[in-house]
Amino acid sequence: MARIIAGVTSSHVPAIGAAIDNHRTGEPYWQRVFEGFERSKEWIAKARPDVVIGVYNDHASAFSVEIIPTFALGTAGEFPIADEGWGPRPVPVVKGHPELAAHIAQSVILDEFDLTLCNKMEVDHGLTVPLNLMFGTPKEWPCPVIPLAVNVVQYPPPTGNRCFMLGKAIRKAVESYPEDLKVVIFGTGGMSHQISGQRAGLINSKFDHAFLDDLTKNPKKLTRLSHLELMREAGAEGVEMVMWLIMRGALDDKVDEVYRFYTVPASNTAVGHIILANRIKGAKKAVGKKAPAKLKRAAARQKIQRIRS
């Protein structure tokens, strides 16, 4: 059967994508950001997921104000890179996993999550920047990616609790898929930022660190955060952190924090990144292998790397 081995969260700041595309990653400003993902790239190279589920939001690329789906799952075979006004980013086309996506769609809809299904959808920096941060700039992405676009542009986004529960339903769907697949789920966006109005530039590191702590140890607490509190404390656009709770809901209650990175700023945003791994259970032999076991030991030794600026 397929199973979710880990979750990754990462900001998806468009300027990070621009820095990659314009070969500016070596500049000190950007080095500080990219260095924080070096260990993550090593980790995912070892974890070798067969599929990534990428939870992100569209930024007026695939969806305008004509149609605003709360949860839109990409069931296509591939997802072209959107032209966000400067030409499409020079990154590989995102290949989907239509079979698993269709299975997830069927399972979670019957579980009462009324998804919108997209057989044609372009994807923007919201999805491709985290792929770059985790996989670098390969000619082809190393595995299929199932995009799950969440509306966080028009208020109200789905509640944190709804997101968390959807994560649980996704997990159930994945675990009922017959093929042995290792799945890693990405929750993207955040952390604190506001890019609109006179309050633009807001950053709340204290809130962000507490959010990261709770994400690992006490995610239920985060599901009770109101949108009002999220917007007030983490910025109007910081509300997109509800997407991280889909990732978290798809994991075990108790997880190992493999890695964490936090820095301010990337353009207008606090960059937060965390890797959480499900603990290996005895029975799941087919998927086990060396890498996750090693990771578990590493985590047990409390080798949580924290880099803070």
Binding site: A60, Y155, I195, L202, E229, M231, R232, V264
Partner: protein
Amino acid sequence: MAPAKQKNEKDYDDIPGTYVFDAERSRQGYHLNMFCMSLMKAENRKAFKADEAKYLDQFPLTPDQREAILKRQYNRMLELGGNIYFTAKLGATDGHPFQHLAALMTGSTQQDYADLMLRGGRSVEGNRSKSGRFEPKTTKSGAKSGVKPKTASKGKQRRG
């Protein structure tokens, strides 16, 4: 419970310097945002730059929205139903990096804004609410507990 009153009183209106893009603003700003969306295409950007006023004639904008666009009043656009992810396309069409827009919206120079971000951004202290209700000094047990009663009324309020 007067509907008109409810309509204008949203809990998030208490957040200073913030225009939450809700369903009401989305409806109000539909054509403004669709204009911005049209700038995703190179030929439209060209046509807009060639004659802004004429290009805008295609969109049934209100006179206020039209003026805000022509004068590049970014906060005003948000107030009139624009969404930042859409209005940013106008900024990009003008060839400006995003921090230029952020500087305009915050009434600072781009350099000052960039410096603010490098210093760790705008502090949340003193920027939580217009009423001052959620500042730590008034809710010593922490903003988190302070928000509870407000949250409880939130759902009811915004469905009005």
